[in-house]
């Protein structure tokens, strides 16, 4: 057999999965359709053509002065973009945390970031901390809270200069509980009107999305994704366990530290702009692995696109399901995510180490 012959054979022997470009194309199409629907549907319904015309006008540099323009450009587009960014960020962070602690039940908020952010945001909402920052006060509070929690978990989990998965899970869970009780204490001491705002924030929403909110999550997502794609092979090795990863030449200490920082940043930024939205970071990585396998060069980009679509559609449902009121997005993601995950896991039990 010639070398060329064996190589041609091997490409079919080694992979029976759909080629990655096709999957990415399909996911991108899904995301675009979701976003157009998310912009078109609402209390004032617009046609997809009208939506695309407004966006085209703005991109061409001569926006029209119309009601449709104001609805699309000022209200719905930033909201849909923020939902997409947060969905992509949470899905990515969830994928990485699950590998970092080698546990299928991990989600981006496992490591204490969300509960730390909640303390910060609650302090702002109830007691007016950082009032000088105006509209940015809640974000600033939650970012500071997230950073504080991240630092605390990092320091407490370190054992002989290294982060161990078990220590991370335990310290994350324990410190999360501690921060949650701090939030409860603040609510207990705060005034009842402000408590309403805290509850709304804790359940998550994209209702207050504006253009200036978008750049920071976008930069954090892009930087994290670039780093993670560069480390995709190391992530595959880490998924096998610490010993195999070390044997494959992965610098375990450095990789774990960097993954911890990247996931904490992503989760912290997501919480800061939209509150604590559960289930996306837990469910989307599993759905994606069931579709394309566990190889991270596939899971990461597909998960990012799929997480974005999932969140945009979830936010759309949140707006229309009890219109004119809005359902908290976290309720929607849980109602869709939980049954979906259970169905998928029951169909493919081996994927989750059930083989024994």
């Amino acid at each position: 057999m010639t070398v060329a012959g064996s190589v041609r054979d091997s490409s079919t022997v080694l992979s029976r999965r759909l080629p990655l470009p096709i999957v990415l194309l399909a996911c991108t199409a899904l995301l675009l359709v979701s976003m157009v629907l998310g912009i078109a549907i609402g209390s004032v319904p617009l046609s997809p053509q009208a939506v695309l015309r407004v966006i085209a006008d703005h991109l061409a540099g001569h926006p029209r002065d119309s009601v449709a323009d104001a609805i699309v450009w000022e209200i719905r587009l930033p909201r849909v973009l923020l939902a997409a960014l947060v969905g992509a960020t949470l899905a990515t962070a969830g994928t990485v945390v699950q590998v970092l602690v080698r546990n299928a039940l991990a989600d981006p908020f496992l490591l204490g970031v969300s509960s730390g952010a909640s303390v910060g945001a609650t302090a702002v909402l109830l007691f007016g901390a950082f009032a000088s920052l105006g509209a940015w006060a809640v974000s600033a509070g939650s970012v500071l809270g997230a950073l504080g929690a991240m630092g605390a978990v990092f320091l407490v989990s370190r054992q002989e200069r290294a982060l161990s998965p078990t220590q991370l899970i335990l310290c994350g869970v324990v410190l999360s509980a501690l921060f949650e009780s701090v939030t409860s204490f603040l609510i207990f001491r705060g005034n009842p009107q402000a408590t309403q705002a805290v509850l709304f924030w804790l359940l998550g929403s994209f209702g207050l999305a504006t253009w200036p909110q978008l750049p920071i999550p976008a930069i954090v997502l892009a930087a994290s994704m670039a780093y993670l794609l560069a480390q995709a092979r190391s992530l595959n090795a880490l998924a096998l366990g610490a010993g195999p990863a070390a044997a494959l030449g992965v610098d375990l200490h450095r990789l774990r530290r960097d993954l911890f920082i990247a996931t904490s940043l992503m989760a912290g930024v997501a919480v800061a702009v939209s509150g604590v939205i559960g289930f996306v970071g837990l469910v989307v990585p599993h759905i994606v692995r069931l579709m394309v396998g566990s190889e991270h060069r596939r899971v990461l980009p597909v998960g990012m696109l799929f997480g974005a679509s999932f969140m945009v559609l979830g936010d759309l449902l949140a707006r229309v399901i009890v219109a004119p009121q809005e359902m908290p997005i976290g309720v929607i993601t849980a109602f869709i995510g939980a049954p979906l995950l259970i169905v998928l896991i029951r169909r493919r039990p081996y994927l989750y180490g059930a083989a024994g």
Binding site: V3, S10, A230
Partner: protein, 292 residues
Amino acid sequence: MSLELRDLSVDIAGRRIVTGIGFTVPDGTFTGLLGPNGSGKSTILKAIYRVHRPASGQVLLDDRDLLALRPRDAARRIAVVAQEFTLEFDFTVAELVMIGRTPHKRAFDRDDDADRAITEQAIERVGCQHLAHRGFNTLSGGEKQRVLIAQALAQGADHLILDEPTSHLDIRYQVEILELVAGLDVTILAAIHDLSLAALFCDTVHLLADGQLITGGPPGQVLTAAAVRAAYGTEVLIVAHPETGTPHLIPRRTRRPDQPGPQSPPAPSPPDATGHYPPDATGHYPPDATGH
């Protein structure tokens, strides 16, 4: 040219696990690391592949400090086959073997034709072509171990470390796996649980007890009843393997079955005519005599 440990000591969580370990694994040989559970076999191996950092001593590869190499450079020289495990997130066999190429690839490198050819050859070498698209977690223990060997082969290292590769396997796979690695063109250092099996395959064995080497050399010299008593605290008979002449251990009962000790229950009565065992004097049936 060889892998050499010099006066290696390793601490875990502040406790000294192994002390003053020194031996050489000459190129092209199959060296066994033997010793009771908890004697430090695995710890020594993990110090070589960087899971544990030695408290003192050196690991030399071709007279150079192995631990001073960049991790990926070390991984190109030494591959590891661990005990079989279950994945939290399943990979297909082909994907898992391709992960063996990790130390040869830089950030954003794609799998090229050479990687695919190497991966395919490694899968063929261990006879797992028919499993290439199966999920790793769906495989049997013996199949998993073959696939992990294929991954180590794809890594392209000239040294192979095996950490109790056959402990959970039945006798067919134990022999099959060791025969497979012994037939590879690499230097092997293996922690092996079964002393007779080690004697059958190893050129040299080193015997550990309580974190220290007590003896080393050809299996025929090392594996004596006295050495096993010293390391394991148990009595064995040693006979020569009828085909290879290598030492084969026969375990001995601590009391002879025909001489019941004071603690032991009275011997069960013989079965009656229907093949059933009568109850003993207290009205209980003997636990091991229920006819199953």
